[in-house]
Subunit: 515 residues, 2 copies
Amino acid sequence: MDTIILSDWLAARLDRAAAEPIYRQTLRLMQQAILAGQLAPGTKLPSSRMLAEDLGIARNTVLHVYDQLTAEGYVISTTGSGTYVADTQPDSAAVNARRKPAVVAVDAQGKPVAAPGKPAKRDLDDLSSRGRRLIGQAGVSAKQWGAFMPGVPDVSEFPARTWSRLQARLWKEANPDLLTYAPGGGYRPLRRALSDYLRVARSVNCTPDQIIITTGIHQSIDLAVRLLTDVGDRAWVEEPCYWGARSVLQSSGITLVPVPVDDEGLNPREQDLQQPPRLALVTPSHQYPLGMVMSLARRRTLLEYARLHNVWIIEDDYDSEFRYGSRPLASLQGLDDAGQVIYVGSLGKMLFPGLRMGYMIAPEHLVDTFRTGVAELYREGQLMQQAVMTDFIMDGHLTSHVRRMRALYGERRQILIDAITARFGNELPVMGDEAGLHLVLGLPDHADDRAVTAAAFAAGVIVRPLATYYNSDPPARRGLLLGYACVPNEKIRPAFDTLARVIEQTALKKPTRAA
Amino acid sequence: MDTIILSDWLAARLDRAAAEPIYRQTLRLMQQAILAGQLAPGTKLPSSRMLAEDLGIARNTVLHVYDQLTAEGYVISTTGSGTYVADTQPDSAAVNARRKPAVVAVDAQGKPVAAPGKPAKRDLDDLSSRGRRLIGQAGVSAKQWGAFMPGVPDVSEFPARTWSRLQARLWKEANPDLLTYAPGGGYRPLRRALSDYLRVARSVNCTPDQIIITTGIHQSIDLAVRLLTDVGDRAWVEEPCYWGARSVLQSSGITLVPVPVDDEGLNPREQDLQQPPRLALVTPSHQYPLGMVMSLARRRTLLEYARLHNVWIIEDDYDSEFRYGSRPLASLQGLDDAGQVIYVGSLGKMLFPGLRMGYMIAPEHLVDTFRTGVAELYREGQLMQQAVMTDFIMDGHLTSHVRRMRALYGERRQILIDAITARFGNELPVMGDEAGLHLVLGLPDHADDRAVTAAAFAAGVIVRPLATYYNSDPPARRGLLLGYACVPNEKIRPAFDTLARVIEQTALKKPTRAA
């Protein structure tokens, strides 16, 4: 390219009326000219005084531009001798160093087609295999609030004023220890408070030191997977199971073995028992999403089997606080005396999901390992928030909030069940309603629950299709998850009526009713 | 076991003086008896009235115990016919289903030795291969504060009162949308504010929609790896590099290719260029840990090479705000017009590490994919905190805080450099001091920087050994990272004097000075 007369070239391109400052425009234009080769390496730049005069701008501005170009390596300033364009051309020898020619496949007309791994254009093909699988099987819902989004507590009921007061008190002290990194599994007073709470509420068996604070169940499962499994290991998951667990496991190279469940929970078949997995991920208190409780006999069988065959058990106890009509059940972890069970739970579901705080109880001999793992992989933090959580628990607010929510969710659950029964009688089974933040409304075997979900969404009602939670195709059951926790009492019936119409039209193949 | 006379057995074990309520003691004892088989399946329990009388406790207590045992499946209550111990024995057929006998290796005396994969006792052998490697190569320091911990900002200078005020204001409104899940890459006003800030401060080229809020650099790198690479893929890392990046990459099955650096930054050898990696992780603004800046020529070469061979570049711009004596440099991302560069940064290092907030700039065509990935793998959250961050930026506090810290860290850097020069003259080279929160003090080739680190720790001074950051053994350089940002001005000299003594005694092999 011809060497340009810099001041003319710049003058033609500077826009003094633009919002962008002259300094930035000048800098940008000169960078472009150098990168494009219009200002060739070795070209001497005009003195700042002359360029400023020619352009009618402040000399100071030009000096700053030259400074920045020097700092970034575009030009070299020599004392007394002027400023020169540096040689910043890419090293084409390095760029083209790869001698082996790319394998170029050609089609029938002899035109090159994109070689595998070298996409012709940039799009979803850019993703790796595991990336494509993650996105393809994504289970997360685009909308996260409103009738009948499952798994979401009613955050409008969260005692924000209390939380804010406790928070402000701690920030007033602004203890630096709470603002920095602190390896150690989390704020110790919180671990102590949680240990006491869980011992009573969930019959877990642990000391404060066994507790590791995480950002929630996803991170807890991820940590266990990274420390205890290798790529290609197999994990039992309940069929159906939580999509988030599936994503985390598969993304780390674990092969899922979906194991059927029945009224008593996980029910491994002969073929499953023949090949002990590395890991088994279970929700014994309240199967997610179908809701059954793992019987005591099955719990003992699983523990024995795991002990004999060295299987790690992850107990995901995600919403056991919300049991209607009877006390929460003792955990599987409390029955384990061989250190096989890793218990994980979430504070977010009890309080507000944006909290991103959960915990895991590590077997005693693995505590140091798990703590190191958290620090290495994620860098712990949020100690200030953990301190607020501690005060919240110690002042009794967690217990009273959970109690209040249990009563409120119980009301909402009843309103929804009544609405279902009034509309459908016994025609559509209801599952998993004894606990949690959702129930499952069964659909006939011929129904397409994904299609019902889409139709409901179009009508303004969110549900989740049971198919999302199954790993095998076709899924063993059809149905919809209906979350009632986040729906105000008076909105449940009208939202359900809308949903019922959609179900009748899309899944029950009844003659069209007058709308 | 013989059937016990329940009331006698319980009476002998209940401790009425204990802190544990009688209800819990009775429940626990009965559970134990049933699990141990002392109360055999089918045994009829005494009526609640009789047991209460025999034990001298309230009938209500016994009723509650029986209720809970029923709920948990230990006993079965039949109407009018009494309460019976349920059959909860483990299903031994299932437990022992695996017919293939375990491969039992024996030693020379014919005694069984633990088969591979079946450790005889539970300890670190429990970990998987990748777990063992993660823990074995852990780079995180046990202590995270004080002279001369690198990478830690001075959190005591953080404007806590301002943050708290902004936070309280938001919590007063307690907008439920900020308390729940919200897929979408993060709070949009924050993404807008960051986009504006980064465009000016770092010359990045992006719209607010390209920004994904994460919990920091670890999560950002992890997300890119899970979406864009498969197990076994290769990644260029600078040699030396940040231990956290190594942990995240290896833990996801990536093979690291350590590539040498020189004064101009990453300097791939012929053998590296022959085999394009899937990914290249670079710190062009301020090589971590050695501190050099990637020259413009090398940047252009890397971008060209990456474009030609479809290599993803992750630009880790971890502390570019703190450049002393010249403006921060333009990012590599700003030079990229092929959508190859994924830019990641951290707000924690600017403000306080406990914040756990960072961001990544995704190439435009990958934005939806990255957002879905965050939601699937980690579940986003902390929207309230992101809203506080937004106000903090919009009210100008980020800029003023960074400016103030830059000046303060500049002072501390100078005090440390003066101390080094006064003690060692030119004997020990200082590297990377133009920017960041640390510098590197070079040691002679024969020095063992890990040993010096241990000795310094014993003397009460924290440093990090350069060896930790190298992937090859032996490391190409010896030295210590000294962080000065978190050390009050008046403590730098005394801490350095202590360190200097340790260095002289352990690394310089000089005759022992009078202590």
